[in-house]
């Protein structure tokens, strides 16, 4: 049961989950915006990688950072065109949490349907690094291993950015208190823009990573958004480290749970974790009252 094979599989799932959750939680933590369209950015990132591979023969591993940059650009556009005016007056900012849900939901529907018009609703996939690699007693398909490594390294990179850089310190300051951060000279607007870019960029990168091993289709995003929500509830709202640990944890729970009771129970497991956390520990496993408002 506790085999090395399952652990590798759990890590492969969990690292991608962590990557999804970090981007989602970053935007929530700094701006109290729940990005329902997060999974749709994952979908767009997946298509971008798919098209660049099948039309331009760009190696998907090389495409990953560029897809991330592209998605970051979309994030900047979303900030300027959809959200900036919310922050102009206090009364709108107060209602931003509820308003953002509607805006992002609309964005999500628009992206999904435009994508299905443009790319057709048929699932697509490409073959890349599909040889099985043996690690000790376990074996893993090459593209899953590549996804695992990229996702894990990106998570660690994000973590180091927040721990070690002054800019990362500034984002963490905004997460704790917008007013306090403003009076020490951290511009909330610039930080919000940065957060949008990083959050959307991470979603795009996740898409590129997912496309390595998974089928892609225009409506794939929603399930990723849901997984992201479950993890940020699990790890604590606004808690970046919590998201990474929570993502890995959900990967372990899902993989071992499915191995124990069967794949039919996958959704029940994920929603079960969600409901259990909300009942038992609503501030998240690693949340404190100050981060989970």
């Amino acid at each position: 049961m506790l085999s090395f094979q399952l652990l590798i599989a759990a890590l492969a799932t969990g690292s991608v989950y962590a990557l999804i959750a970090v981007g989602l939680n970053l935007i929530y933590g700094t701006m109290r915006l729940l990005n329902v369209a997060h999974g749709d950015l994952v979908m767009l990132g997946a298509y971008a990688t798919y098209w660049s591979f099948s039309l331009l023969h760009v190696d998907p591993l090389i495409a990953v950072p560029f897809v991330g940059l592209l998605a970051a650009g979309i994030g900047a556009a979303a900030y300027f065109f959809l959200f900036q005016h919310f922050l102009r007056t206090g009364s709108l900012t107060d209602r931003i949490e509820a308003n953002s849900l509607l805006v992002f939901f609309g964005l999500s529907i628009a992206i999904e349907n435009l994508a299905s018009l443009a790319f057709s609703g048929n699932p697509q996939a490409y073959e890349y690094l599909d040889r099985v690699i043996r690690i000790g007693s376990a074996s893993i398909v090459g593209n899953r291993l590549a996804a695992l490594i990229i996702a894990l390294c990106t998570c660690i990179g994000v973590l180091l950015f927040f721990r070690l850089t002054t800019l990362g310190l500034a984002v963490r300051a905004i997460i704790q208190s917008r007013d306090a951060a403003e009076i020490v000279g951290v511009s909330a607007r610039k930080t919000y823009l940065l957060t949008f870019c990083i959050g959307f960029g991470l979603a795009g990168m996740t898409g590129a990573v997912v496309s390595l091993y998974s089928q892609i289709w225009p409506f794939m995003g929603f399930s990723y958004t849901i997984v992201g929500f479950v993890i940020i509830i699990l790890g604590g709202l606004g808690n970046i480290v919590g998201s990474i640990v929570g993502g890995l944890l959900l990967g372990v729970l899902e993989t071992f749970g499915v191995a124990a009771v069967g794949a039919n129970y996958r959704s029940i497991l994920i929603y079960g974790v969600f409901i259990a956390i909300i009942i038992i520990r609503p501030q998240g496993l690693f949340g404190t009252k100050s981060t989970a408002r």
């Binding site: 009364s91 002054t166 310190l169 500034a170 963490r172 300051a173 704790q176 208190s177 007013d179 306090a180 951060a181 403003e182 009076i183 020490v184 000279g185 951290v186 511009s187 909330a188 607007r189 404190t288 100050s290 981060t291």
Partner: protein
């Protein structure tokens, strides 16, 4: 006479439909200590939030060295040299003491001297050096107030806004605090202070404004205010 650093002209401000400040005018000269005193709800904190940029006035102008700064955000005003030590402290509870101080020097003017400045703060507040690795949220009220003050100074302010720095502190710590405020003013920093502790405040202030119901009712140099019978009766408990 030194130049006017900060000037508020007929500033009206409030929250939503509630008007707190009614056409307030006051100024602070470079190198001076200006005190705002008044009872609870008089609008002292609202005035400070307007100057710091956390609240936009509905009317009137806020001028810095003669130039209107109404449109600048709080973070942009920090770059000019305005630093607020807010009521309720607003420190970062999840940061260590050291991280709180580091982020205090985030503005481009202060950033190059960050480490030297931080050592100076540890010299001024030895307690903070002892606690440098501790999460700020777990410290006592007095220590948090010292941290908020040190963080405000990390920005290398030209104007320091102190909002109720002695609120909730033990008398021995209050006396320490006023000593430090005096040290800071001798470093050449202009100070605007809001205080309930009127007696101590009058001792360190050069000029005093008395706020009541969002209006300035008395103003004058500290000496004459200390002798003003109305102030004596209302704020110093003397008859």
């Amino acid at each position: 006479m030194s130049a006017t650093l900060l000037e508020l002209r007929a500033v009206t401000a409030g929250y939503g439909d509630v008007v707190v400040l009614h056409e307030i005018s006051f100024s602070a000269r470079e190198g001076s200590v200006t005190a705002l005193i008044g009872s609870n709800g008089a609008g002292k904190t609202t005035t400070m939030r307007c100057v710091a940029g956390l609240l936009r006035p509905d009317n009137g102008t806020i001028a810095w060295r003669g130039g209107v700064i109404n449109a600048l955000s709080a973070s942009e005003r920090v770059e000019l040299g305005i630093s607020l030590v807010p009521e309720g402290r607003l420190i970062f509870p999840d940061f260590t003491v050291e991280e709180n101080l580091s982020i205090g020097a985030f503005n481009p003017r202060a950033k190059p001297n960050r480490n030297r400045r931080r050592d100076e703060m540890y010299g001024l507040f030895p307690r903070l050096r002892e606690r440098r690795g501790q999460h700020a949220g777990t410290m006592s009220g007095g220590e948090q107030q010292m941290l908020a003050l040190a963080r405000g100074l990390m920005a290398e302010p030209k104007l320091l806004l102190l909002d109720e720095p002695s609120l909730g502190l033990a008398p021995s710590i209050i006396s320490q605090l006023f000593d430090i405020v005096d040290t800071v003013r001798r470093m050449g920093v202009t100070i605007v202070i809001v205080e309930q502790n009127v007696h101590r405040t009058l001792q360190i202030a050069d000029y005093v404004y008395v706020l009541e119901n969002g209006q300035i009712v008395i103003h004058g140099d500290a000496q004459s205010c200390a002798e003003n019978p109305n102030i004596k009766q209302a704020y110093l408990g003397l008859y």
